[in-house]
Symmetry: C2
Subunit: 196 residues, 2 copies
């Protein structure tokens, strides 16, 4: 295996181990030592690629965002057309916002709130991801943002699934979430159709 | 001042100092030492009332929830009737979910996610608060939960403002939030009226 490929795989192992640590132990329970052990990577190699914990956690969430972005794009190809489409889009978003990438990102957001250095890395990442998910949602719903109110309804949809994701960290919320998304699909279809 | 009243005031000072610490420094930056210094209460007295950090943070969020609940009830009295009411209810909820009590609760939820002892105290508190806010919102909107879909739309409204609250911890989001709530008020009025 060429050196370049081995480096790429080692970085991926480190970043995936970091996400696992964030999900299992939270931000404060995640340490560079723990991550290097878990990934089976020497401390020296790890510090060479990611000198600080902040470098590691931001890169990890960014990495997982790419992976999940590719998964979302693939899932989007399989969405049904017609009447069931809106509900299927909401299901996909609901899954996304209750996945480990959401949990890891949540740990990062909350830690960044009281850590300026971390915030300076997290805020631009979050804005970029937010724009990408918004764009994808507009496309998948076939929403026309030139119509008044449509942009806000798409944003509301994403804030709704973010709120559902947060609720799900306290209690397993799958049944309640399904009922809410059923109703929101109906309301959203009516609103997107009715808006002048 | 009678002893009982002095004790009550001291407890309130401790709990308010705890909330301030959670907001300013996060859960991991909050310590019982810091709180007793900030509140001007001796370590001994503090440990007598709240033996552990978990006792302190759960009691603090519960205390602030009561205070905010009373504030919400007072604000609810001042809400306009008629066309502007739904938007005013959403404004009130939006303010609630971007207030220090939300921030302190968010720190608690995220810490509880990876701390079983804390979770066993936080989960019932969260469920109780959730039910109360749901009940208040139904009353304020004059929503008829016997109609299909209405209960889910009220829940969606609360998940939306929870999502907006989380977004607001990363960037000041007041203008975006106002536009989304403008649109949500229109959509909600139409949906609550239309549902059979």
């Amino acid at each position: 295996m060429p050196q370049e490929e081995r480096t790429r795989l080692m970085r991926a192992r480190l970043l995936e181990a970091t996400v696992e640590c964030l999900v299992e132990r939270g931000f404060s329970g995640t340490s560079t030592t723990l991550v290097s052990e878990r990934a089976g990577v020497s401390r020296g190699a790890q510090l060479h690629h990611f000198p600080t914990k902040n470098d590691l956690v931001v890169a990890a969430v960014e990495h997982l965002t790419h992976v999940r972005g590719a998964e979302l794009a693939a899932a989007a190809q399989r969405l049904p057309r017609g009447d069931r489409r809106t509900r299927a889009v909401l299901e996909m978003l609901g899954d996304h916002f209750t996945s480990p990438v959401f949990t890891a990102a949540l740990e990062l957001w909350v830690a960044a709130r009281t850590d300026e250095t971390l915030m300076s890395a997290v805020a631009p990442l979050e804005q970029r991801v937010g724009r990408e998910v918004h764009r994808l949602t507009v496309d998948l719903l076939g929403a026309d943002e030139a119509k008044p109110g449509v942009r806000e309804l798409v944003q509301a949809t994403l804030d709704l699934v973010r709120g559902l994701g947060l609720a799900n960290t306290i209690t397993d919320d799958a049944r309640r979430r399904a009922r809410i998304l059923d109703q929101w699909a109906l309301t959203l279809d009516t609103a997107l159709k009715d808006d002048k």
